[in-house]
Every structure is written in structure tokens, then in C-alpha cells.
């Protein structure tokens, strides 16, 4: 019994255990529900899976099911970010415990009952529990915002290496607080149309109505909600990486005000979609720029730190040559990879997005809606996928993956996922290069490469999870000392990189 309770305590009370549980649940959902679409559906496995699981799927409810599915996954991703924030940002141990407990119950309840409602018949008690779970996640967010309140004197900083006001208010903490507050407001932005579901609000996917010239305020709110939530998840992850890399110095003092201003402007722009749709996109673009610049500063800082650390460890002093610098930078694929994925995002997400925005009427709107939907769907799938790989690399780093396993896992995730993202980018923009009649070879090769690369990435994830699962069966496994270091009295002790 003690063995079970020890492991339970590890999985549900330590930051690393909580993250492991969330990643595992996401992996299970992804593996199970992934069978219902893509190549596995083409091969007939989707139909077998539906029969095997006893799913009850109605064609007219497909959009609703998809919305439930990605909300359940998003809740788990948000929970992972919250665990990281409560561990990395100073706060009272009791606050950390309360926040983590509330969000854990919230996302698991939302996940179980959301999927049960969506895919296994419509028991409206399940729907109520899905909403209740999400409400708990929201409540945990409120507690997080309170815990992050940056104007409390005990959290003031005076160290000039960290961005702060003249009064000592920690601007990094302000950035975290701004992100948390913006996320709460933006969640409400989606919750309002959600609460009117069935009473004037009909289920739809944003990409389906993108060309409707006159959208209702509720439709605009949903479109704004999904955009800002993904953007704020990315902002939160950037701030988390900043803490993980010990971001400080002049670049920190430059980056944090930009993160705060950018987050506020983007959020304001998205909220302005309902009353001021024609100018909202311009506001969002203005806000995106400082956030992007801040992320580049973090990447520069992090890479320089990795490089200098490795060169020092190798005893190379003076002026190392380019090859030595590059070799030092690439020595640790996990730490290099987290930041590289942020850079890569600029090529496969930001650049494509800017191109779409600039050439919307001249190029994209010359294509049929179906083609535009492919671009839009591919675009946010890549963004979500990149965020997932960054979290995976961060978790593997936290979990203390070492030696060859560290090298293999890191490089497989980076290379395989980036190949997949590049292939999807090519696929989604294929109409720029090939006509519909001539597209089949390109479709085949990009789909094959995407599926093979994603399968490789998932295999790496599965290997990591199996390693941790096997470890749980060992009496004195890694879990035991991870659990021991996670004494809640010192929330940051377990997270020192």
C-alpha cells in the first residue's frame, strides 16, 4: 500500500510527476483519437477503432467533437504550463499546492467527461462535468494570478541584472501576471459564446466561416478566443523558458517590457475583434512584433549561455573558432532544441502567417475556400505541434535524461518534428507550386514524409514514457528521488536546472 501511495504522491504532488501524468494523458488521447483521421482512417483502422471503443459518432456533430477534443488536450497543456510556473516563479508553498491540485482535478475531469460526452453518446451530466472541469481550471488560473501579483513587496527585486521598475517591481513577474490575466480574460471571451451554445450560438470551426462577410459577434468572439489562447500559451512557454535558462542581464531588461507590452497589445487587439474587426488584425500585428523580438533575445541569451558553458567545460578559452562554437552549441540537443524550435517557428508559422496576411487577396483568396482552410488548419497544427515539442524537450531536460539517450531523444525530436513541420508547410501551400491536376505526387510525398516523421517523433515520446513507466516499478527509481526533492516547502528546489 505504501508503494502505491508513494508513487501516487510522486505523480500528483511533485511538479515532475504532475507533468509526466499530463504528458501521458495527452499521449494516450493523441494515440487513441489519432486513429480516427489521417492515414489510419484511410487504411480503415479508424472504423475498427470506432467499433472497438464503442464510439457513437453522428456526422452533424463532427465539429463539436473536434472542439471538445482539442479543448481537453489544451486544458492539459495549460496545466503543464501552470505546473512549471508555480515551480519556477517564487510563490508561497500553499499557493503552489492549491493551484496545482485545483488545475489537476480540473483538467482530468474536463478531459474524461469532455471526451465521454463527445464520443460516447450525449449524457449531459458528462457535459456538465466537462464544464465543471474547465471551471476548475479557470479558478486555478485566478489563484495563479493572485499568487503572481507582482506588487507584493516580498517579490521585489533590486538586482540590476533583472528587469524591474525603480520601485523594485519584478518585470518578469509582471510579464507572467499579464499573461495569466490576459489568459483569464481571453478564456471568458470564449466562455461567453460557449455558454450560449444551443441558445443562439451554433457549433462551427473557425476555418469554415473565414470567408463569410458578415459574422456575428459570437462568431468573432470564438475566432478571437482560439487565436489568443494559442498565442498566450506560446507567450507563457517563452516566459517559462526564460526562467529555465536563467534569463538575465541587459537582454532581460530589454525583453521583459517588450513581452508585457506585446502581450497587452495582442490581447487588446484580439478582444477588439468583436467591435472593431477591420483594425483588429493591425493591432495584433503591432503587438506581435515586440513579443517576437523578446523571444529572439531569449534565444540569443540561451544559446550564448549553452555555448559558453560547454566551451568552459572543455577548457577552451580565448577566442574559439566558429566550428568550436557550433559544436559547443549543439552539444546538448535538449537545451539547444527548446530554443531552436522557437526559431524554427518563425519559418513555418510566422513567415507563412505573414505571407498569408500580406498576399491574402492577391493569392490566397484566388484559391477556393477549401484550399484556404488547408492553409489555416495546417498553420495552427504546426504551431500547436511546435509548442508540444518544446514542452517535450523541456520535460526530458527536467527529467534528467542523460548520455546517449539524451542525444538520441533530443535530435530525433528536433529533426523528425521539423521535417514533419516543413512537409506540412509545403503541403498547405502546395497551390503556390503545383496545380490541382498535378498535385498528387507532391501530396503523396509530403504526406508520407509528414506521417513518417510524426511517427518517429511519437516513437521517441513513447520511448521516454516507457522509460518512466518502467522506472515507476523500481523501488528506488528516479521517481523516488524526484519525489524526495519535491518537498512543497521549497517549491523551487526541485526545479533548479
Amino acid at each position: 500500500m505504501k508503494a502505491v501511495s508513494d508513487r501516487f504522491r510522486y505523480l500528483f504532488r511533485s511538479t515532475k510527476g504532475l507533468i509526466l501524468v499530463a504528458i501521458t494523458l495527452i499521449a494516450i488521447v493523441t494515440a487513441t483519437w489519432g486513429m480516427l483521421s489521417g492515414p489510419l482512417k484511410e487504411w480503415g483502422i479508424g472504423d475498427v477503432a470506432i467499433r472497438l471503443y464503442g464510439m457513437r459518432l453522428v456526422e452533424a456533430e463532427r465539429e463539436g467533437r473536434i472542439i471538445l477534443l482539442y479543448h481537453t488536450i489544451a486544458m492539459a497543456v495549460v496545466a503543464i504550463e501552470v505546473y512549471l510556473i508555480t515551480a519556477l516563479v517564487p510563490m508561497k508553498p500553499q499557493q503552489q499546492a492549491n493551484i496545482n491540485a485545483t488545475i489537476t482535478v480540473g483538467y482530468i475531469v474536463a478531459m474524461i467527461f469532455g471526451l465521454a460526452f463527445g464520443y460516447f453518446g450525449h449524457n449531459f451530466v458528462f457535459h456538465g462535468l466537462f464544464v465543471f472541469g474547465q471551471s476548475l481550471v479557470f479558478f486555478a488560473g485566478l489563484m495563479l494570478a493572485v499568487a503572481l501579483w507582482p506588487w507584493r513587496r516580498e517579490y521585489h527585486v533590486q538586482d540590476p541584472a533583472y528587469a524591474h521598475t525603480r520601485g523594485g517591481v519584478d518585470l518578469e513577474r509582471v510579464a507572467f501576471f499579464t499573461m495569466a490575466a490576459a489568459t483569464l480574460g481571453s478564456a471568458l471571451f470564449g466562455a461567453v459564446p460557449g455558454s450560449l451554445w444551443g441558445r443562439g450560438q451554433e457549433t462551427f470551426l473557425a476555418e469554415d466561416i473565414v470567408r463569410i462577410p458578415f459574422k456575428t459577434p459570437l462568431q468573432l468572439a470564438v475566432i478571437g478566443h482560439l487565436h489568443i489562447m494559442l498565442a498566450l500559451i506560446a507567450v507563457a512557454l517563452t516566459l517559462i523558458l526564460g526562467r529555465w535558462f536563467g534569463f538575465k542581464g541587459r537582454l532581460h531588461t530589454l525583453a521583459m517590457p517588450m513581452m508585457i507590452a506585446g502581450t497587452l497589445i495582442i490581447t487588446g487587439g484580439v478582444w477588439a475583434v468583436v467591435p472593431f474587426e477591420p483594425i483588429a488584425h493591425m493591432i495584433i500585428n503591432i503587438g506581435s512584433f515586440p513579443v517576437l523580438v523578446a523571444s529572439w533575445l531569449l534565444v540569443y541569451y540561451g544559446w550564448r549561455k549553452i555555448m559558453q558553458g560547454r566551451l568552459a567545460a572543455q577548457g577552451i578559452s580565448g577566442a574559439p573558432c566558429f566550428r568550436q562554437k557550433l559544436s559547443a552549441l549543439l552539444c546538448d540537443p535538449l537545451r539547444f532544441g527548446m530554443l531552436w524550435q522557437m526559431v524554427y517557428m518563425n519559418f513555418v508559422v510566422t513567415a507563412v502567417g505573414i505571407f498569408m496576411a500580406i498576399r491574402l487577396d492577391e493569392v490566397i483568396r484566388r484559391w477556393p475556400l477549401r484550399e484556404e482552410k488547408v492553409v489555416l488548419t495546417g498553420h495552427w497544427h504546426i504551431l500547436a505541434g511546435i509548442i508540444a515539442t518544446i514542452i517535450l524537450l523541456l520535460y526530458a531536460d527536467m527529467a534528467g535524461l542523460e548520455g546517449r539517450a539524451r542525444q538520441w531523444f533530443g535530435w530525433v525530436v528536433i529533426i523528425a518534428s521539423d521535417i514533419a513541420f516543413a512537409a506540412v508547410s509545403l503541403y498547405e501551400t502546395k497551390r503556390l507550386f503545383v496545380s490541382e491536376a498535378g498535385q498528387q505526387p507532391l501530396v503523396n510525398i509530403t504526406m508520407l514524409v509528414t506521417d513518417a516523421a510524426l511517427a518517429t517523433t511519437l516513437l521517441a515520446l513513447a520511448t521516454l514514457l516507457v522509460w518512466r513507466l518502467v522506472d515507476l516499478f523500481r523501488r528506488d527509481g528516479r521517481w523516488a528521488w524526484e519525489s524526495a526533492e519535491a518537498a512543497l516547502e521549497a517549491p523551487q528546489a526541485e526545479m533548479i536546472p
Binding site: 452533424a60 462577410p213 491536376a437 498535378g438
Partner: protein, 311 residues
């Protein structure tokens, strides 16, 4: 030392070999299928008459995904199948002689009086003038023109006419005194008066319609996005061992899901786009649901877009 070197060399050779095998497999699996543009397709007689019309009564039906009760005031008739290549070639020969359409270079064009422009964001002006109906230069067009008359490429006579713009589709229907169906007319003809998701019922199988990776006999030639199937192909017959469901709609229409998207007549305020319904051979099943909508500029054309008329 030499052992270590030879092991390293072996490893390198194995790596190169593995890379070659993977690349070869990728190209074999991926590169061998493109849309066949030269050889004639398999010829199948479906037994369905493309000159037939179906009657749709006036009255209520459940419109759209969210099943809104909608009333169509007058009964109407709609073609049982999409307009075929043979029908369109015949029309072009007649319309050119009568001056209803013109040949400008390698384009069939015709006059359109223009849309009312509302100046909405992203809205383009569709002005009065000669607009493209059919581009003769596109190699995927199933029609031929020898300088005097139009004909159909061998084997495509009973396939739906594609590579035709909204202007071309509209002009065809109006030449014979008919019209394009409105969006709700199209939907009622596809759905009937219940709330089914597909013209034939609730679920879709590979034998019900021509969609992406549906493994019909034409995909064996042209790859997973396939080729058009003859109109009325999914009628319960067996073609060279490929059996089909009788996938007629409640009112007896064929191909209201899959094969080719179909232009409808609606012109909507604030956008120059026209709507397309029914899904096509290059779409997954969910795009074949009755309420699924695509849209495109009226001068857009594609090998997966066709039309049928109403009257």
C-alpha cells in the same frame, strides 16, 4: 585499431544503404501516381440517362448542419446527374454558331452584366464584360477543339464537365432556358425532407461516392485523388469487380456527394465568391456531407468542379 576502422566503415556503409532504401521506398510509394492525362480512362456504361430530370416538390425541409426548417415556395426540376462532357461539347458547338459565347484566343468567354459591388473588405469588383467560361489551353480539360467543332476525349463522354467557371456553368443552363440551382434548392434536392447527412443516408462507405482514397477503379490509374467517375456511377452496379451502392438522393439524383463540386447560383452581398456544394474526388468524407460548402471566385475552374442545372 584496424578492427575499429573497419567497424566504422561498416557502420557508414550500413547507414548509406539504409538511407538509400528509405529514399527508394519513399519514391516508389509516393512518386508513381499523378493524374493520368494521356491514356483514356476505363470506360463504364452506368445506364443512367444524363438528360433526365428529377422533380422536387415545394415545401419545407431541414436546411444545413443545424437543421433549420426552410421553405421553398415553388416546385422545381433539377438534373439527375451533373452536366457531362458530351452535353457540354454539344452546347459549345451550338452556342458558338449562335454567338452566345465567343472564342478569344484559347479561351471560351461570354458576357456577364456584373455584380452589384458593396465595397466590403476582401470583396472584388465583378464588372460587366466578357468573362472566362472554359480555358481551352488547360491540358486537364476533357474537351478537344479542332478549329471547327468541339469533341470529347475518348472515354470521358459520360464524365461530368469540369474545368468550367461559374460564368460558363450559368451560361450553359441559360442557353437552354434553365438556370443554376440556388443553394437551398441544391440542398433540398440532395437531402430530401429528413435530416440525413449524405444523399443516401447517414453513413458513407467507399462504395457510396467518389472521394479521396475511396479506391474506385479510377484511383488505380490516377492515384488517391483519382479522376472523375462517370455520372451516375454509384448506382448499385458492379464494374469490373468494384461494386457500388445505389447512392441516389431521396429525389433520385446521383453524385450529390463526391465526384465534383457543383456551382450554385447564389450571389451574396459583401463577397464576390460563389458557392460550391457536394464535395469532390479530392476531398475527405466530411466534405461530402450535405451541408458542406466550398466557395471560389466565379472565374475559378478546376478538374474537380462541375455543375448541374435546374428549371
Amino acid at each position: 585499431m584496424s578492427d575499429a576502422r573497419s567497424q566504422t566503415a561498416d557502420r557508414k556503409r550500413s547507414g548509406v544503404l539504409l538511407a538509400r532504401v528509405v529514399l527508394l521506398a519513399a519514391f516508389v510509394l509516393a512518386g508513381c501516381t499523378g493524374q493520368a492525362q494521356g491514356a483514356p480512362p476505363p470506360a463504364f456504361d452506368t445506364g443512367v440517362d444524363p438528360d433526365a430530370w428529377a422533380q422536387v416538390p415545394a415545401g419545407e425541409f431541414l436546411c444545413g448542419q443545424h437543421e433549420k426548417e426552410t421553405t421553398i415556395a415553388l416546385p422545381y426540376e433539377i438534373m439527375v446527374t451533373d452536366v457531362t462532357n458530351a452535353q457540354f461539347a454539344r452546347y459549345l458547338n451550338e452556342a458558338l454558331v449562335q454567338g452566345a459565347v465567343m472564342l478569344k484566343g484559347d479561351r471560351i468567354v461570354g458576357y456577364y452584366p456584373g455584380d452589384i459591388f458593396h465595397g466590403h473588405k476582401h470583396e472584388d469588383k465583378i464588372e460587366a464584360g466578357d468573362w472566362l467560361h472554359v480555358p481551352l489551353s488547360d491540358s486537364i480539360l476533357r474537351l478537344t477543339y479542332d478549329g471547327r467543332s468541339f469533341d470529347v476525349k475518348q472515354g470521358y463522354e459520360n464524365h461530368p464537365m469540369t474545368v468550367v467557371t461559374w460564368f460558363g456553368a450559368k451560361a450553359y443552363c441559360e442557353f437552354y432556358g434553365w438556370r443554376l440551382p440556388s443553394e437551398i434548392e441544391w440542398e433540398k434536392a440532395a437531402r430530401g425532407t429528413d435530416n440525413r447527412a449524405f444523399p443516401w443516408g447517414e453513413t458513407i462507405e467507399r462504395q457510396s461516392a467518389n472521394f479521396y482514397a475511396s479506391r474506385d477503379p479510377f484511383e488505380a490509374v490516377a492515384g488517391k485523388q483519382g479522376d472523375t467517375t462517370p455520372v451516375g456511377f454509384y448506382n448499385g452496379r458492379v464494374y469490373n469487380g468494384f461494386w457500388t451502392e445505389d447512392a441516389r438522393s431521396a429525389f433520385g439524383l446521383y453524385d450529390m456527394a463526391g465526384n465534383v463540386w457543383q456551382w450554385v447560383s447564389d450571389i451574396n452581398e459583401g463577397t464576390h465568391d460563389r458557392y460550391l456544394r457536394g464535395g469532390s474526388k479530392i476531398n475527405y468524407e466530411y466534405d461530402l456531407r450535405i451541408w458542406s460548402r466550398n466557395s471560389a471566385r466565379p472565374d475559378y475552374y478546376s478538374p474537380s468542379v462541375g455543375f448541374r442545372c435546374a428549371r
